[in-house]
Each structure stands twice: as structure tokens, then as C-alpha cells.
Amino acid sequence: MAVVKLNAVGKTYPNGFEAVKPSSFTIADGEFVVLVGPSGCGKSTLLRMVAGLEEITAGTLNIGDREVNDVDPADRDIAMVFQNYALYPHMTVRKNIGYGLKNRGTTADTIEAKVQEAAKMLNLTELLDRKPSQLSGGQRQRVAMGRAVVRDPSLFLFDEPLSNLDAKLRNQMRIEIKALQRRLGVTSIYVTHDQVEAMTMADRIIVLNSGEIEQIGTPAEIYHSPASTFVASFMGAPPMNLIEARVEEGEIRVNGGASIGPAGRCPSGPIQLGVRPEDVELGGAGQTPFDISIVEELGAHRLLHGHLGGQPFTVHVGKEVAAAPGTTQIHLKPEALRLFDSQTGKAM
């Protein structure tokens, strides 16, 4: 268990490519932090720097009260779960789990006891004498977890551990990992490109884009108050609607139409207006025309795809709201409107 502190940690490759711009954040003891972003955003590099598999070229990294920039991965008191599990194919499950302990000079009796304990926790007891090739994807994933758990580290690192599993198993393992982490109370860093995993598992989410931190916050903060249009469009499915609009005399207008809502203290000029698809009401007091072109029926709810002021727009309604292609009036909840700078994309 440990606090992890990154102080302006950055990575520049010898060829001059800056994979991770200097980033600073602190992870509290026992916290589950998810690094999320599109491929190539530097999230894996950041994780690998924490693991010690990648050299840190700028800043300092502390795990616990120790600066570990130059500490070997084996001595950082961490455990890592890899995307393809990285199990040793020639060893049985028992040996796979116990290998890290064996290398640390633990006695055979203690190893056996700890392996049994970890196996029990992960329902692997019957599989201990199998080889990885005789296991299913989910079981392999659990062995990889067991290998991490058995060492009793102060920090767990997960590198997209669920991306090789099918959708159903992924949902199940998501809950198992989260529950395990809660139970053990070990500080964890989890890398994923799947925003659903990020939202459901994280205590705090760090959104990365091209090597830079876009936003750090709880899932609710990230979802409801994205710091930039990038975060707004990356998190949430379907993503937040982003449309070109203008602020005139304190009112937001799209294509010179009627006022959509008050702009607060935002100065006049072009802006990007963001609104979540579910923060829109059909009919009623609405006075913004919305052209529905496609209705996606999803059982519990419907997604209405169409155009607002000539720009693509999606509305999420409950199953009790009837909708058909055609023009209808909608109402955007004023408190749910998010304004972004039209140039930089940052929240205003």
C-alpha cells in the first residue's frame, strides 16, 4: 500500500519524439486510478515508466516515500498484469504464481501456502497443476491476477488486462478485479482505451491525449464537466453532442435561431456547445427544431440521430417516449449546457 507521486514525469525517446509530456499527479493510498485515452496517447508508456520497464527521462517518481526513478522493476514492490497475460507457458499455474516469490528467496512452504491462498481467492485451486495452454482466456487472466496478488505488492499495475476477452467475460472480470482491489485495498493504476471500463472501475480517471493530461477527475466529474471537447467526445457512448454556436448578448444561439439558453458570463463570439444526449427533452417547452433522421431502438431506451441547425446531433430518450423521423421541437436543459472555446476546445 502506497501513495504514488508523479512530479513532472515525462518521456522523450532518443529520436526526439515526446511520448509523454511532463505530467504531475498524486495517487492516494488504496485508490484505483484509470488512465484512459485513444491508442498512442502515451498511457501505456506512462504505466511502463511507473513499472520501471521504460526509462523516465524527465521528472521524479515516488512510490511510497521512496524515489524510484533508478530502482529496478523487481525492487519497486509492484505487480503488473499484462494485456496478453504473459504467463510462462512451460510452467504450471502453481509455478507461474509462485515464480516471483521463489526468486525472492521465499521458502517452499511459505510459497505453497501463499499460492494456495491466492488460488482460493481467485477460484484457481482446481487448476493449479494445469499449464497455461490448457486454460481458457478468463482463467489465464485470473492466473495473471494471482501472480500479482500473491506477492502482496504495494502497487498494482494493469495494462489493458481485459482487451483479449470477449464482451461477456470482460464485464464479469471487470467486477472481479474491482472487487479484489477493494478487498485488498492496494493502490492501483489501470490502463485502458475502453471508456466504459474507465467509468465503471475508477475512483479517479486520468484522460490522456497525445501525451498530455486532458483532465483528472472522478467519473462523474469527467462525464458531466469535461475539461475539453476531446474529453467530451471521448467519454460516454454515444458521446456528448458538440455543435457550433454563437453567444450573442448573453444568449446561446445556433445558426442565428432562437435562444437555446443563457450563456452566463461568457463573452460574445463563436463557441462550441456541448450537451449530453440524455440532457435533452422532446416536445414540451421546447423551441429548438430537431430533424430526426434515424431512430435506433435499444430496448430500454432509444437513440434519435438527426440534425440540429444543420449539424449532427443525437438525443437519448427513454423507451416511453415515442419518436419517429421528422422534425420535432426539443428543449436543452440549461444546467446541462457546456460551453467550449471554439479555438482551443477548452471548457469556458
Binding site: A74, A79, M80, A86, Y88, H90
Partner: protein, 301 residues
């Protein structure tokens, strides 16, 4: 496989029970059988001839039938001391050959695995260059460097020793190349997992890489053992004492010795030794083949 299922279907109609002759199968088998006979016949002739006495062989040449001297010839070939010094017999030469074969194969595997390990896993300057330099030595067979090698070994006082026989031959570009290709196919994450598990370079090599490479090791062992076993030129140069002779070399020595003394050469014994010389490589191939094929089909990585 298809032949097995057909009789079951046709069992209901007794008339159609006789399988139609598949001419393509007959053709295939004819070719295969002819090929097999072509390959085995010389070996069989050597074996048959080795059961005749030397006069019979000298008079009638190679034989197809068996004679009555089988046990005598093999016994003499294996256990009768021969040569100028009367110190060497077949069993000693067999022993020498086995030492050369195993030493050669095992030495080559160890050296080339370690070379490949260094090239693939350590951030060495000029590692690629080093690899290609090693690789180009494939173009230089032993025969090219045989004089300098002999000179060096001679001066080191290693002539007529097993180490002198084996060590100059164990550097292997082929082995290094195969192991390099194999190591490069080992997933990077396995290396990283081992690092986090606290396995240093030596532990990683012994605990992970060697067990993973065991099919590769078996394959290279087969090739290298046979290659080492059949070495002729280098043992001929480096061993002058008869007690160090290898089988392949000794076969010639048996006939050579008697030709000089104007007697009829002991062809029977020489052929018996040839047969004995064939057996160990065949056994090695049979033994490792099973493992090798299993390893190839049952992907473990």
C-alpha cells in the same frame, strides 16, 4: 483416413464390400517403396556383406545373402586390438566418436544459445553487426580455416585431446541464427513479466528461455550430433594417436593397415564397423524425432 470410414457405410450391401482399387494410392506407394528400397539397399548390402569372411568378399565382391561370419566379424571389429600400436579397438573408437558427437552438439548448443541471448536481449553496441559477422562465417566452412586452427591447437598442446578435438568446432553460425530467430519470437511481455518477478538475466535464461527453447534445442541437437559424428577431416588432422581415433576414421584404418602388409584387407570387419557407425545417429534421430515433432505441433508459446 478415408479408407477406414468407407467399409462401414458399405457393410449393408455385401456385394460392394470389396474396395475398388485406387490407382493413385498404388502409384504413390510404388514410388515411395521404390525410393525406400533405393535408400536402404546399399545399407542392407553392407550389412549382408559384413557377415562374410574376407576371402569371400575379395573374391565375389558385395553380397546380397548372409554368410556365417557375422558374429566373428562384429566381435573382431569391436574388440580386437588393431592398428600399429595394438591399442585401439572398435569399442574405444565408438566411445571416442560418441564423445565427439555429444561434445560437439552440446557445445554448439550452449555457445550458440548464449551468443543469441546476448545479441537479442542485451542492448549491445553493434549487436546487429556482430550478428551478421557471425552469420557470414557460414560462408567459411571448417576446411577454409583448418590449417590455422590446426596450428593454434597444436601450439596450445591440445593435439590428441578431446578438448582439442571438440572446442575448435563448437562455434556455430547456424545455431546462433536459429536461436536468434527463436528468441526474437518470444513475446516481449514475457521478458517484462520475468523482470518484475525478479528474475535476473541468468535466471531468465535458465528458468524461462531454455525450457521454452527445448524443441529448438532438440532440432539443433539432431543436426549437430550427426554433423559432429560424421566429421572426418578435422579428427584426422588433430588425432595422431590411435587411441583417439573416431569410428569414421577407424573404418579406413582397418583396411589401410592390412593393405600395407600385402594381405587381403579385412573388408568384413570394416563393413561391420560401418554398420556400427550408422547406429548411434539413427538412434539419436529416432529418439529426438518424437520430441521434435511433438514440440512443433503443440505450440507452447
Amino acid at each position: 483416413m478415408t479408407e477406414i470410414s468407407q467399409p462401414l457405410e458399405k457393410a449393408t450391401t455385401p456385394k460392394a464390400r470389396r474396395k475398388p482399387i485406387k490407382w493413385s494410392v498404388v502409384g504413390d506407394h510404388t514410388v515411395l517403396i521404390l525410393g525406400a528400397i533405393l535408400m536402404v539397399l546399399p545399407v542392407f548390402m553392407v550389412f549382408a556383406t559384413s557377415s562374410h569372411d574376407k576371402i569371400e568378399i575379395a573374391r565375389n565382391g558385395m553380397q546380397f545373402g548372409f554368410g556365417d561370419q557375422l558374429a566373428v566379424n562384429y566381435g573382431k571389429a569391436m574388440f580386437e586390438k588393431g592398428g600399429f600400436t595394438d591399442t585401439v579397438d572398435g569399442s574405444l573408437m565408438l566411445m571416442n566418436s560418441l564423445i565427439l558427437g555429444f561434445g560437439f552438439a552440446i557445445g554448439k548448443i550452449i555457445i550458440s544459445m548464449m551468443a543469441a541471448y546476448a545479441i537479442v536481449y542485451f542492448r549491445l553496441r553493434f549487436a546487429t553487426l556482430a550478428f551478421w559477422v557471425i552469420f557470414t562465417t557460414l560462408l567459411l566452412p571448417l576446411e577454409v580455416r583448418i590449417l590455422p586452427s590446426y596450428e593454434a591447437i597444436q601450439r596450445l598442446g591440445m593435439a590428441n585431446t578431446y578438448s582439442g578435438l571438440i572446442i575448435p568446432l563448437i562455434a556455430s553460425a547456424t545455431g546462433t541464427f536459429f536461436f536468434r530467430q527463436f528468441f526474437r519470437s518470444v513475446p516481449e511481455e514475457l521478458v517484462e513479466a520475468a523482470r518484475i518477478d525478479g528474475a535476473g538475466p541468468v535466471k531468465f535464461f535458465i528458468d524461462i528461455l531454455v525450457p521454452l527453447s527445448r524443441t529448438m534445442i532438440a532440432a539443433i541437437f539432431i543436426i549437430m550430433f550427426v554433423f559432429g559424428w560424421n566429421q572426418y577431416l578435422w579428427p584426422t588432422m588433430i588425432t595422431t594417436e590411435e587411441s583417439m581415433f573416431t569410428l569414421v576414421r577407424g573404418i579406413k584404418q582397418i583396411t589401410q593397415g592390412v593393405i600395407d602388409s600385402n594381405d587381403i584387407p579385412e573388408f568384413g570387419q570394416a563393413l561391420a564397423l560401418s554398420i556400427i557407425a550408422i547406429i548411434p545417429p539413427v538412434l539419436i534421430v529416432l529418439f529426438f524425432q518424437n520430441w521434435f515433432v511433438k514440440g512443433l505441433t503443440e505450440s507452447d508459446k
